[in-house]
Symmetry: C2
Amino acid sequence: MALIVKKFGGSSVGSTEKIMNVAKRVLNEKKPGDQIVMVVSAMGDTTDDLIKLAEGINKEPYTYPREMDMLLTTGEQISIALLAMAFNTLGQKAVSLTGSMAGMHTNSFHTKGLITDITPERVHEELDKGNIVVVAGFQGTDEHGDPVTLGRGGSDTSAVALAGALKADSCEIFTDVDGVYSADPRIVPSAHKMQEITYSEMLEMARLGAGVMQPRSVEMGAYFNIPIHVRSTFTTKPGTMIREDYTMEEKNFDIRGVAHDDKVVKVAVLGIPNTPGIAHDIFSALAEANVDVDMIVQSIRNIEKNVTDMVFTVASSDRAVAKPIVDKVAEKLGAVAVLIEDDVAKVSIVGAGMLGNPGIASRMFGALSKAGINIDVISTSEISISCLIKKDVLKEAVNAIHDEFFQDK
Amino acid sequence: MALIVKKFGGSSVGSTEKIMNVAKRVLNEKKPGDQIVMVVSAMGDTTDDLIKLAEGINKEPYTYPREMDMLLTTGEQISIALLAMAFNTLGQKAVSLTGSMAGMHTNSFHTKGLITDITPERVHEELDKGNIVVVAGFQGTDEHGDPVTLGRGGSDTSAVALAGALKADSCEIFTDVDGVYSADPRIVPSAHKMQEITYSEMLEMARLGAGVMQPRSVEMGAYFNIPIHVRSTFTTKPGTMIREDYTMEEKNFDIRGVAHDDKVVKVAVLGIPNTPGIAHDIFSALAEANVDVDMIVQSIRNIEKNVTDMVFTVASSDRAVAKPIVDKVAEKLGAVAVLIEDDVAKVSIVGAGMLGNPGIASRMFGALSKAGINIDVISTSEISISCLIKKDVLKEAVNAIHDEFFQDK
């Protein structure tokens, strides 16, 4: 007997037919005595449709985030009702619960709420009555009892957090891919599916561009130490297990995977008089505007004049916000110029195995060099190495690095 | 300064444009210091669309009434969010509250819940902050915290009950007609709008076929003694005030209005041996099946054999349910035959003024006689007289009676 939380996203429940298929699939896999909690998103385009409706009232509906949450939380409420009905129709007792009813408490940051606490007594109660419990993902209520949505990646986070609070045996995240791959299979046809990956490696993969899981939900898994099984909606094959540590030989890999991100821009602030606090000036202004910065490199431009260059990357989506902020700080610091390069991409290797294994970095650089690819910026973390390269050679770069580390596996 | 509850139905909020119009209209009429609570239904066809969606899961979705309520309550949640957004967009602070958040407590009769209690603290709190409070009609929560819809006429009932619990000064029900008329204006062009009508007269009018208000909400008004102002969504003219007693001369009318109902069938159980309890046998069986019975007449068919006939009417919509029940009881009682007539209609006059005024009845019968219309069955209550006639002369009958009582007014 196991308590399993299963999360299905919007495309898996995009029509009543698909909802029936999800219910059948879950019942086929259910072992006698298993307790099942489903966490589901809004059906397919429902959220987009609701946003469009709101735009009929106000072109900028997010000006009223509380009312947007009141509106958007109906999306999941519709899908949980239908899925519970589907289970009942198939002869399996089931009840639907909104985020509020399932005890998901959040702060009051409407449209991007954070989970503050989970009191899942009602979920346990309904499980004990023999029900499959169908919970609305992506939502909770704040201390006033107002509905709050969790923002990007919210449904995965709901599922993992609820699994943690319920002390579930595992949390299964159903997606349109069948697991986590050593590289994006659309780019590297020979990429292999991992059986296991640690939370920290998965976080690093996600941070560096692997789109399978939102970092937020992986952090939640690590916090509760709940194994997350990433698997396909369309097959019953096992996917990839994200957990604290490995249970098998896969541990022997030097690196775990190759991640890439072509949605970055390079920002270079050139010719800054090198006085204490310049990094703080630049990056605190960006942090205030909620802009994530990566691959920071400071280099001396002219040692006699004590003038320095500061180079870093930001997400392409933050370009418009970041540019005026950087321009303003650069002017204040007396910088010579601010350059922004759009034709860049980041390629990274990730793996706990590279710790204390200096050969790994040189193999990565060697693979790029052999492929005739220039490296612009390098940055490293404990379990990853990233190189900034030109965007037009990204595919070759990912393949060259993947071949170097996985060719014979 | 007044506290006013205003209820707008689904057709008044059927599109984002209409929602904006409702908001503008309410702000135009709002006096400084007025506290406004809006109660709204789901947008136009939303409820029907949701039911259709559920039929994609199960052809009989009401088999799972709890899940239907989870599904259907999203309809109002969408319209309250949009209307609150509309007020805010127009510069008026507003917040939306679900039935649950507004303190509407119900029993657990899903899809036809009854209000058990209202604890509207949150509504007062938000009003005191200067908000217009937009509440979801038609819904509340039961003791488990599960959403429950109120069934037919539920939004009007929500509005009147909330007005009662808030000790509001009045409750305005906005509809597609501009008040309560002395007869259906589509049938009697000279029908006049009443300025006032009492709860009991309105109840009798509604019971006898006047479709403006659901009896349930009128009863709720009488219970709380909250004046209900029935008025048009499309004009700002005063409509009809439903209240405990008259404030003006209208009291002098002998009768208040002519109601009619062409959605009835006549049931005749013929030749029943007249023993004690036959009425009970027939009508308790129908009551168990929730079939409302009206115009009951028992008459002696053959005094020597002590054989009797029992005639009554039921709503056309109950015909299919009533028929087998009556057939079964009739067989048990040894009746000769059960006849059902579909081509009948009921015409009624209503007015507290007829109490102790026997001339009224004879004027009604005289008017029908002069028009050459046969009366099949007559029944009376304290404040109404009803005649069953052939359906094809209903229009002439309503006009003849209306002329008799209102021609010179």
